[in-house]
């Protein structure tokens, strides 16, 4: 069976492999903890953008509240460890389960409606969760959860303060896994159904596509994967609080790279993250947090106005040639 790819030139696949191979061996060059942490965060945001792209890029269901899943993941790990003395690795299982349930809870009523009710509902969900967690003293309220460092290096406690390279490779593995999953979905019948309902939901229904079931499936996958990133973040920073894990700005950190790189394209969010996140950091360092937010807003408007399909789609359109993949 012949299956069309994203019309990407073969060179882009090879360049990706080379870059990822270089990133895999980068820590062996003793670059220092600062650079390791910087690239860890790049992986982190690229991974989050990929997760967001699954529901919003492929299925066209714009989520403005993905931070809720991120925060639930982080808090699941934090509460399990600090309240119950359980390994935060359980958070990697429980967090996705909880967020999948949340995704089903808001998706089931809103995916049946037209227009952007899902976007509104997801935004409301994140804000409600943030306010709830701010006032919930059992899990720290506004003070959040401060981890008590147990050991400087402990797999069972998911803490590697003595060697951040472990966090680097965990996040790198998750990024590679998410990229592979995205690629598999994009080139599967499931992915084609998602893109069909994205482009025209009624037409998709007229072709016997169960749009509700497909939307719910991708929503739970996206939510679960996002929660896992929240767990890793909690273990990396050893401190979590509602505003840094559930605010709209967390969702924007997923949304902007995906939109810049290209919605519904496998590599788009990764490219977008690797471009936009360093720019954001530089802006924050040189012009301050407030102006940095303004600049990011302008960037979003420019993307929507001049490059709505993203940077990678612009490249594809200019230099595309048919790419045939035999399955």
């Amino acid at each position: 069976m012949y299956r069309k790819s994203e019309l990407l030139p073969h060179q882009i696949h090879w360049i990706t492999i080379v870059i990822f191979a270089a990133l895999a061996i980068f820590p062996c060059l003793n670059p220092g903890e600062f650079l390791i942490d910087v690239i860890f965060m790049l992986f982190h945001y690229a991974y989050l953008a990929l997760c967001w792209n699954l529901i919003s890029g492929f299925a066209g269901q714009f989520s403005l509240g993905h931070a809720a899943y991120y925060g639930v993941g982080a808090y699941t790990a934090g509460v399990l460890f600090m309240r119950f003395g359980l390994t935060p690795w359980l958070g990697m299982l429980l967090g996705p389960m909880l967020t999948a349930a949340l995704a089903l809870a808001i998706g089931y009523p809103t995916f049946r409606l037209r227009y952007h009710y899902y976007a509104l509902a997801s935004l409301a969900l994140a804000e409600v969760m943030r306010l709830l967690f701010l006032s919930w003293d059992y899990i720290g309220g506004a003070y959040g959860i401060w981890y008590k460092p147990v050991l400087r290096y402990s797999w069972i406690d998911f803490q590697f303060t003595a060697d951040h390279i472990v966090y680097y490779y965990i996040m790198f593995a998750m990024l590679c896994g998410a990229l592979l999953l995205t690629w598999k979905i994009r080139h599967s019948d499931f992915g084609l159904r998602l893109m069909a309902l994205r482009d025209d939901e009624e037409a998709a229904k007229s072709l016997s596509i169960n749009t509700l079931a497909n939307k719910l499936a991708i929503a739970t996958i996206s939510a679960g994967l996002t929660a896992m990133a929240g767990v890793v973040y909690a273990q990396f920073t050893l401190f979590i609080e509602p505003d840094s894990t559930m605010s709209i700005w967390v969702t924007m950190d997923m949304l902007l790279p995906a939109m810049l790189g290209g919605l519904g394209i496998t590599y788009g969010p990764v490219i977008g993250a690797f471009i936009l996140i360093p720019i954001s950091w530089a802006l924050r360092a040189f012009i301050g947090s407030t102006l940095q937010v303004v600049i990011r807003g302008i960037i979003l408007m420019l993307i929507v106005a001049f490059m709505p399909d993203g940077l990678l789609q612009v490249i594809i359109n200019r230099i595309t040639r048919p790419a045939l993949i035999r399955r």
């Binding site: 084609l192 037409a203 998709a204 007229s206 048919p322």
Partner: protein, 226 residues
């Protein structure tokens, strides 16, 4: 079938049957309820009364995707292809159950060759001409091998060469036993293709019969000419 939009009675007890193997034309002035009727049958619009039977089964409240799976295909007044997907992906996106990958591919190949779209197989659907989009939409609907095809003005805006191809496709499919319900304004095409014609005006069936009988019907003439 009855359908209201607020105080507007879009369909008023519209009732008719289609036999297997027929090509039935559905005509009427603009705003008579033709597209609304199709949307109600498909369950894209909630109906305010009436029943729908397909192959002897009550499908009145069946979800659109389940009705499609039962064997009711649909094309739209304005082509609704998946614009950000290629021609090939448009066809492959249809979940054809009970077919192996190879058989599905053969069906795709047959449809693309029959409709002349093989040359643009990797083109994004948004880059196709209007006629090509019509052909793609029809091909896509045929992927499910429906028993009944409901087509909403399939020949509108199509150039003569494409038109002949579309008509030949409909006629050949009809010979294999497919049933068609076609909304069409072009009376010459209706004469050429349809065994029977149903005329709607202001949400009501005002005439039904052979094309040559319908065109001399006084009520039909009045509906079109006012």
């Amino acid at each position: 079938m009855t359908k209201r939009f607020g105080g507007v009675l879009a369909l008023n007890n519209v009732s008719f049957g289609i036999d297997r193997g027929e090509i039935v034309g559905l005509i009427g002035p603009n705003g008579s309820g033709k597209t609304t009727l199709l949307d109600v049958v498909n369950n894209f619009l909630h109906k305010d009364g009436g029943k729908i039977y397909f192959n002897g089964e009550d499908v009145t409240d069946l979800a659109p995707h389940k009705l499609a799976y039962k064997g009711v295909g649909r094309t739209f007044q304005v082509s609704r292809v998946f614009e950000k997907m290629t021609v090939l992906e448009n066809l492959l996106s249809v979940p054809v159950r009970g077919l192996s990958s190879e058989a599905k591919f053969q069906r795709v190949k047959y449809l693309l060759e029959t409709t002349g779209l093989m040359s643009v197989i990797y083109e994004y659907a948004k880059n196709l001409s209007g006629g090509q989009k019509k052909l793609l939409e029809l091909s896509r609907a045929l992927m499910l091998d429906p028993d009944l095809m409901m087509m909403d003005e399939p020949f509108a805006g199509v150039d003569p060469a494409m038109l002949d191809r579309l008509i030949d496709l409909v006629e050949n499919l009809n010979k294999t036993g497919k049933t068609f319900l076609i909304i069409e304004h072009n009376i010459a095409l209706v004469h050429r293709l349809c065994n029977r014609v149903i005329v709607l005006d202001e949400g009501e069936v005002i005439a039904e019969g052979k094309p040559e009988d319908i065109q001399h019907n006084a009520r039909v003439i009045e509906a079109y000419l006012g």
